[in-house]
């Protein structure tokens, strides 16, 4: 019988309510009238159960008061050599105010496992503490996160002493890790994001750490963050209420220098307290010292409402020396601005004015790293432009905004950017206008709050409702209408709501053109640029390109032409050219952009790296490998310098360099670079990430083309094995793998097998790329070579000839693939004694 599902449950409910009211004698008849036999059976069973239930479940279960164990000192002191459950204590590795930590081993089975055993000092174990321990370990046991040292086991010794078994973490505290390895600022921020992720996860599980400090944040040798002692601080804390006095007596486990004001005051500890501690740790990682001096154990060093200084103001020379900044002045400059704001937002004395979650803090750090505006800082034009150009618009799509949450902030930043621009242009009129615009949006957002109980209006719905109002509200102020539409259009663009944004922007443009009598204005140029961005985003490169060109012309015609925006537009045009396959045009534009940025913004190494890298890629795709190589290397160097040697951008720049080197037949060097890219990606992204797989393919190509088939074979087979599972039949990667498999099979002496596989590879690549693609011709040429080696000259010659012709058609005449195909044909001629023809080819 089918169990009753949610669909039929309302029927059961209705019938149960009705029949339960009936006198016992009438129930059976009513039940028989139910058509659905399963519903009938269910209702009957429930009626029977209802008669039997009496007053069961009517009384809430009480929380039993456990008699508290006698508060005598436990006699058993743990020490090396002793056994605790299945664990043998090896040595003491740490001791704090309340607890002691041992290295221990579990050696019951075949394997030996190293663990950390943490126990409370026996004198402090009260019955109450043991009670709390039992409850907390349930919570902690569910904490599973790769950045949190796992709680493996917990128990109570025979002397009633609670203990935890934790994952043994081999590493060092984050502050020491950063100092001893001179970790660059950007990598410190990345580490901090890992910390935030772990804390966020724990908060979602209702676990507050309460004692976050470098000593509890370890980094392993491979750069993985591991948080220790989650939730344990609380268990090791004396009974609540006494926390404040214990702080001063040094008994409480909480470390004062990292404690939030509310913790110091003995107040309510919440997730916001952990955010504060994260802020102190971040402060210390950046500035080399903590925002407040530690107390002396008896008196707190600060009042609860003390405002911390900005990290950039207090950087120490030691911090500068141990980071990538070199000297304190440079470090100060690096921190000044957004990073200061981020740290200070986490350190606000009032819990509710801090970041609302560790995730929010992490996202803001992420925004900083990606060169996007951070939440913690008010926008100014200078700031926005600085961000704008630093943004890596050629990398993979930017992470999506948390749309509705950020909506308010996005509008504000758009408005403020306009307001700042207004100061430069038409100060008073614009300011008034901006004020009106701001007011309008306040009304829109007021509408987005629920008006009546139970009615929720989303922001998008509110905007949709507001759009018709723009034209009716400001009938006598067309320039205000245009301003609102432009602001709203830019806002919606940032929210990826292109369909809604476009008509508003077009409307705004038409109004502006009418008002300005067709003159070029900054607003008009901006609107065209915005529209170009939209076309680009929705995959219409041709339309985007023409709009970019219009906006570029308009920007150039403006008296206050802004070189930064011009380069932005140029780079976008180049990108559009590239995606339409017009490599030569893209190359010259990228060259201009790279030159321009090097001249105008020489210190912005990331912007330079991106521009140079794009230029190099365009050159490589054109087959101009020799010219491209030093540019690829320059991009790698600039990324290494600005983002640190282990940044993923470095990997992204290394990969095209390796590809370039393969084409130049510099196989050993190619292998070195490709392996470095592979290792970086593998470490940061894992084995199945497309970037990792891409680097692996480059490693394979360097091996196969370099004739190291024995080493390449496992990789090639691994890729081929993905057919139909991870890789779709038409995936171009598969064609590459089959080509390599065919090459290596033939090279290993199995010519027949090689021929068969290469034939399949030709079919696959033609299906994926089209019959006249150069890569298909390369594979056909390789097939021709194998057939020639099987002494079937009659079959091989037309194939080698035709593929050579195909390559001449599709690639530059001096491309390495063209030359290789020509050499294969020449070899065939020589093999058959046709030296003259071979020599003619060489010319």
């Amino acid at each position: 019988m089918m169990p009753i599902d949610a669909e039929r449950w309302p029927l059961v409910k209705e019938l149960f309510g009705e029949i339960a009211e009936l006198p016992a004698g009438e129930r059976a008849a009513r039940l028989m009238a139910v058509d659905d036999i399963e519903v009938r059976a269910e209702v009957a069973a429930l009626l029977r159960a209802g008669d039997a239930v009496n007053d069961r479940f009517e009384r809430a279960p009480a929380l039993p008061v456990d008699s508290v164990a006698a508060e005598e000192d436990a006699p058993g002191m743990l020490a090396a050599g002793l056994r605790v459950g299945p664990y043998r204590i090896v040595r003491e590795i740490g001791r704090g105010g309340m607890g002691v930590v041992f290295e221990a081993r579990r050696d019951d089975a075949q394997f030996e496992k190293r663990v950390a055993l943490k126990a409370m000092l026996p004198g402090l174990v009260s019955g109450e503490v043991v009670r709390r321990f039992g409850q907390e370990r349930q919570i902690l046991a569910h904490l599973e996160h790769h950045n949190i040292a796992a709680l493996l086991d917990a128990g109570v010794t025979e002397f009633n002493q609670p203990y935890f078994i934790l994952e043994y973490v081999e590493g060092e505290p984050i502050s020491r890790y950063c100092a001893s390895r001179r970790v660059p600022v950007r990598d410190r921020l990345q580490l901090m994001r890992q910390v935030c992720d772990a804390v966020q996860y724990a908060h979602e599980q209702l676990v507050v750490h309460r004692d976050l400090k470098p000593g509890n944040i370890f980094v392993t040798s491979d750069g993985t963050v591991k948080l220790l002692d989650f939730g344990i601080a609380k268990m090791m804390q004396p009974i609540d209420g006494a926390a404040a006095s214990h702080t001063r007596t040094g008994l409480a486990p909480m470390t004062e220098a990292y404690a939030s004001p509310e913790q110091l005051a003995g107040g309510h500890v919440s997730t916001a307290s952990d955010i504060y501690s994260l802020g102190v740790v971040l402060f210390e990682l950046l500035a080399g010292r903590r925002p407040f001096d530690a107390g002396d154990g008896f008196f707190p060093a600060r009042s609860a409402d003390a405002e911390p200084p900005a990290p950039s103001r207090v950087v120490t020379d030691a911090a500068a020396v141990t980071s990538d900044a070199g000297d304190a002045r440079r470090l100060r400059r690096a921190l000044d601005g957004e990073l200061d704001s981020i740290v200070l937002m986490a350190l606000r004395p009032e819990p509710d004015r801090r970041y609302h979650s560790a995730q929010q803090l992490s996202e803001d750090i992420g925004r900083y790293l990606a060169g996007r505006p951070v939440l913690a800082q008010p926008d100014t034009l200078r700031y926005r432009l600085r961000k704008f150009t630093r943004r890596n618009r050629f990398a993979t799509a930017a992470a999506a905004l948390a749309v509705v949450a950020l909506m308010g902030g996005t509008v504000v930043s758009v408005i403020q950017a306009r307001a700042a621009r207004a100061e430069r242009d038409r100060a008073l009129r614009e300011a008034l206008r901006t004020h009106a615009v701001t007011q309008f949006f306040q009304q829109v957002f007021a509408a987005a709050r629920p008006q009546r109980k139970g009615v929720n209006v989303t922001v998008v719905q509110a905007i949709d409702a507001a759009i018709p109002g723009i034209d009716s509200s400001f009938t006598d102020q067309p320039d205000l209408q245009a301003a609102i539409k432009l602001t709203l259009g830019e806002t919606l663009t940032r929210m990826y709501l292109y369909d809604r944004a476009r008509p508003l922007l077009e409307d705004a443009y038409r109004t502006r053109q009418r008002l300005d009598g067709g003159r070029v204005t900054r607003d008009a140029a901006d609107i065209i640029y915005d529209l170009a961005q939209i076309e680009n985003e929705i995959g219409k490169p041709a339309r985007a390109e023409s709009l970019y060109r219009v906006s570029l012309a308009m920007l150039g015609a403006l008296p206050d032409r802004d070189s930064v925006v011009v380069f932005e537009a140029l780079a976008n045009i180049a990108e559009a050219e590239m995606s339409q396959g017009r490599l030569a045009q893209a190359e010259s534009l990228y060259g201009a952009v790279a030159g321009g940025i090097a001249r105008w913004k020489p210190r912005d190494e990331q912007a330079r790296a991106i521009a140079v890298g794009n230029h190099a890629t365009a050159l490589s795709q054109l087959g101009r490998f020799v010219e491209a190589e030093p540019l690829h290397r320059e991009a790698v160097r600039l990324f290494e310098h600005s983002r640190g040697p282990n940044d993923l951008q470095v990997a992204a720049a290394l990969q095209p360099l390796a590809g370039n080197l393969v084409y130049q037949r510099k196989f050993d060097d190619a292998l070195v670079q490709a392996r470095r890219a592979y290792d970086l990606n593998l470490h940061a992204l894992g084995p199945d990430n497309p970037a990792t797989l891409g680097a692996e393919r480059t490693v394979t190509a360097a091996l196969v083309d370099g004739g190291r088939c024995a080493e390449a074979m496992p990789l090639v087979r691994g890729m081929v094995a993905l057919r139909g599972r991870v890789l779709h039949e038409s995936d171009p990667t598969l064609g590459v793998a089959y080509t390599q498999l065919g090459q290596c099979t033939a090279a290993g002496g199995d010519l027949a097998g090689g021929e068969r596989i290469l034939r399949e590879a030709v079919a696959m690549r033609a299906a994926a790329l089209g019959a006249d693609h150069w890569a298909v011709h390369v594979t056909r040429s390789l097939l021709g070579e194998v057939i020639a080696r099987r002494r079937r000259v009659g079959d091989a010659e037309p194939l080698l000839l035709d593929s050579y012709a195909g390559l001449l058609r599709t690639l530059e005449p001096h491309h390495i693939r063209v030359l290789e195909a020509r050499d294969r044909l020449a070899t065939l001629y020589r093999m058959t004694g046709r030296e003259a023809e071979a020599n003619a080819l060489a010319k």
Partner: protein, 189 residues
Amino acid sequence: MTEAPSDVTRLLLQLSSGESDAYARLMPIVYEELRRVAARQLRRERDEHTLGPTALVHEAFLRLVDLHSISWQGRSHFFGMAAQAMRRILVDHARRRSAFKRGSAPPVTLDSESAAAADAPSEEVLAVDEALETLARLDARQAKVVELRYFVGFSVEETAEVLGVSPITVKRDWALARAWLQRELSPEA
């Protein structure tokens, strides 16, 4: 300075206006406070054998929420959340107890009388908790009714107020839910 009532009140207001972030911030506070109140009661009332969850939830509410500015909706949110927290506290407690009973660790409780008395309900608490997962899939509101009636001990009227439905509806839901639990928890089912 203790748990600032205005904080919780403000978060409840935010929750009422649809900010889901507020929920994530509130839940730990409510949970903490319930446990804190329970701990305080335990110390104060050594001679009592048990603590009633209803009283705990009410006290937590009074301590956490500013009564002058909280709306009806905010109240409902609070009690709905408190019920969930209370359920979890009771279940955790019961789980610990049955784990000790199975002998995985020496019992912490030395008073054998109260331990024995508490055993039967702790089995039931776990069983109800588990059965409630199934019921919630059939009818979410009915599961809420059980949470409030069984785990918090709210009256029909209080439950109706928290859920924003009529007492008659709660009565019907509760009658069926009890019959359903009875059947789910009986050994032959």
